[in-house]
């Protein structure tokens, strides 16, 4: 007997959203585990069924051309797979710790909003998802109930509320100009000021340098699993919306400012990371840098790098976060006394090899593709950023390991397997003498920099709330000016 159920993209939104309240109703650990695995399995099944019939369009409620326009295509496939993997492994990791049912409830709704952002083509629907996912992030960051977490979260709340209000204004103005909110049906010229008001909030959500200085404090203070979810999946939301807008009149000729900001972010992120001594903040600055790669890469290579980055950054946050929670030290010098246990260090190194772009690991594939397809000025900046990545990641590796009993930790193994499988499966697309020499030179120069140049402490002026608002406005004006010229 075969069960023939019609599959719609909107199921990706509905399933985690409908299951979420059950986490609050049934509070025993066993039921929570069952529910979590049920959501992940159903989500993966829906994604699998949708890949067989993609690209697939849907208008909610059957209102053709008038309902919310949803589309499941290659871009959605990469992103939804990433979201399910990252949140699934974070749940796996969280069962060993004492998380309240509220955590599962919130992350389940977060999964639903992330999935929606990957399939929706409606500008206002995107606004709702941006706000809803952010509200969940504020609560997740502040869950530890300490004034530091509350302040990091409140700073993020204010700057992103400011930004999304502007996004909403831009959506209203676009509706005034074109009479539609559907990305695929927007026609005609959109004035540069509206485009910049629409794009800069999305850049803030993506965690790109001048506008996202909320990110280091928030990502480093949050608990391990929350950091992994934020860096692995949450910041990818802005990039997918930007990729959706690329072939529309909104962004047709306007990708230059985004590339410039992305390159700036890729380089500044690693410089800030290199001069930082707090391990979780190092990883957070790397997110800023890697999101620069993603946006510079464009919808094909960028999306692939978003997937790879999500996987190895979550693995890094799991290993480093577990170590920080176990020892209670954030500082790299204090951690050098404690050292990583063997079973954790191996996976840290796999994550580091991934993010540094070593051949046979996933970062190599997407980084080579991005560097190969970008104009020459971009190539130089991205190679410099790769050198910086290796240099600052060497700081983490230099913590060293101590012998310990072997433990098999499932969520580490899942992430490491994906990194290596992707790295080996797609290597034929990028492998050449030039890319291998390039990656070897990058690694050697990076390690030399780590050995020769000593990090300096950089004051955190850019992370003040009023400065963040000014940074935001300056970016907005810069994007506008570039578009106007």
């Amino acid at each position: 007997m075969s069960i023939d159920i019609q599959i719609y993209p909107s199921l990706l939104t509905l399933v985690p959203m409908l299951f979420a309240p059950l986490f609050l109703l049934f509070r025993t650990k066993l039921v929570q585990k069952l529910l979590a695995s049920l959501i992940i399995i159903l989500d993966l099944l829906i994604i699998y069924r949708l890949t067989l019939i993609m690209p697939l369009d849907e208008y909610t409620g059957g209102w053709i051309l008038r309902g919310i326009h949803l589309r499941f295509d290659n871009l959605s496939l990469i992103y939804t797979l990433l979201f399910v993997t990252v949140i699934g492994t974070s749940w796996l990791s969280s069962f060993k710790k004492n998380y309240p049912p509220l955590f599962y409830f919130l992350t389940s709704i977060l999964l639903s909003t992330l999935n929606t952002s990957a399939i929706t083509l409606d500008l206002f629907n995107i606004y709702v998802m941006l706000e809803l996912s952010s509200i969940i992030a504020y609560i997740l960051i502040a869950m530890k109930d300490n004034w530091k977490h509350l302040w990091a979260s409140l700073k993020y709340l204010m700057i992103s509320y400011f930004a999304f209000t502007m996004y909403l204004t831009a959506v209203g103005l676009i509706y005034m100009h074109t009479g539609t909110l559907d990305i695929s049906r927007i026609t005609g010229e959109i004035p540069p000021i509206i485009v910049s008001m629409l794009i800069v909030p999305l850049l803030l959500k993506s965690g790109v340098f001048p506008v996202s200085m909320w990110l280091p404090a928030a990502h480093s203070l949050a608990p391990t699993e929350v950091s992994a979810i934020l860096s692995g999946s949450f910041v990818k939301m802005g990039s997918i919306v930007i990729f959706r807008l690329i072939n529309t009149p909104i962004l047709k000729q306007a990708y230059t400012p985004i590339t410039l900001i992305a390159l700036l972010s890729a380089l500044t992120g690693v410089i800030l990371a290199y001069n930082e001594s707090n391990v979780k903040r190092i990883l957070a600055f790397h997110t800023i840098s890697q999101m620069g790669y993603v946006l510079a890469g464009g919808p094909i290579y960028g999306a692939l790098h978003a997937f790879n980055h999500g996987i190895f950054k979550s693995l890094l946050f799991f290993t480093v976060g577990d170590q920080v929670e176990e020892t209670g030290h954030y500082d790299i010098k204090a951690l050098k006394h404690a050292k990583f246990p063997m079973h954790r260090y191996i996976f840290l190194v796999i994550g580091v090899l991934g993010i540094s772009g070593v051949p046979l690991f996933s970062g190599f594939i997407s980084k080579s593709m991005i560097i190969h397809h970008i104009p020459i000025y971009g190539k130089v900046v991205l190679i410099l950023a790769s050198v910086g990545t290796v240099a600052s990641m060497s700081k983490l590796v230099s913590i060293g390991y101590r012998k310990s009993s072997i433990k098999l930790i499932p969520h580490y193994i899942i992430m490491a397997t994906i990194i290596i499988l992707v790295g080996i499966r797609y290597i034929e697309h990028v492998i050449s003498l030039w890319t291998i020499i390039e990656s070897l030179i990058v690694i050697i120069v990076g390690i030399t920099i780590f050995l020769v140049i000593h990090p300096k402490h950089i004051p955190r002026i850019l992370e003040k709330l009023d400065i963040m608002v000014i940074e935001y406005m300056l970016t907005l004006i810069t994007v506008w000016a570039i578009l106007y010229m």
């Binding site: 509200i135 502040a142 300490n146 302040w151 409140l154 400011f162 204004t169 209203g172 003040k464």
Partner: protein
């Protein structure tokens, strides 16, 4: 057009307040003012061509109902975000005893 200008001015006043004021509560108040500016903008966009509200027993051409439907959602989201922000502010003042954003930032830089 005059209504759009007024809306932009309200929006700008809110934005300046966020940069200028040190107290978190005043910053949140400025955010609220800014949101009011956006609401005003949307309502004036809806009434650009026709002013008659889209209610059954009035006769058409109506003002565009979609911006208003959109802004209702935004007001609700704004309410939720603002409540959350106020709860956070309350907890910070209970735990830390200050609402000055400058002082909080200095302390977090020293300790984290």
């Amino acid at each position: 057009m005059i209504y759009i200008a007024i809306a932009v001015v309200i929006f700008a006043i809110g934005g300046i307040g966020i940069i200028w004021k040190d107290n978190i509560l005043l910053k949140l108040l400025s955010l609220g003012i800014m949101n009011a500016g956006v609401v005003a903008l949307f309502v004036s966009i809806a009434g650009l061509k026709y002013r008659i509200p889209a209610i059954l027993n009035t006769s058409g051409p109506y003002a565009d109902p979609l911006p208003q439907a959109v802004i209702i959602t935004s007001i609700v989201i704004g309410f939720a975000t603002m409540s959350l922000a106020l709860v956070f502010t309350m907890l910070i003042s209970l735990k830390k005893g200050t609402l000055s954003s400058k002082k909080l930032q200095e302390d977090i830089d020293r300790e984290h």
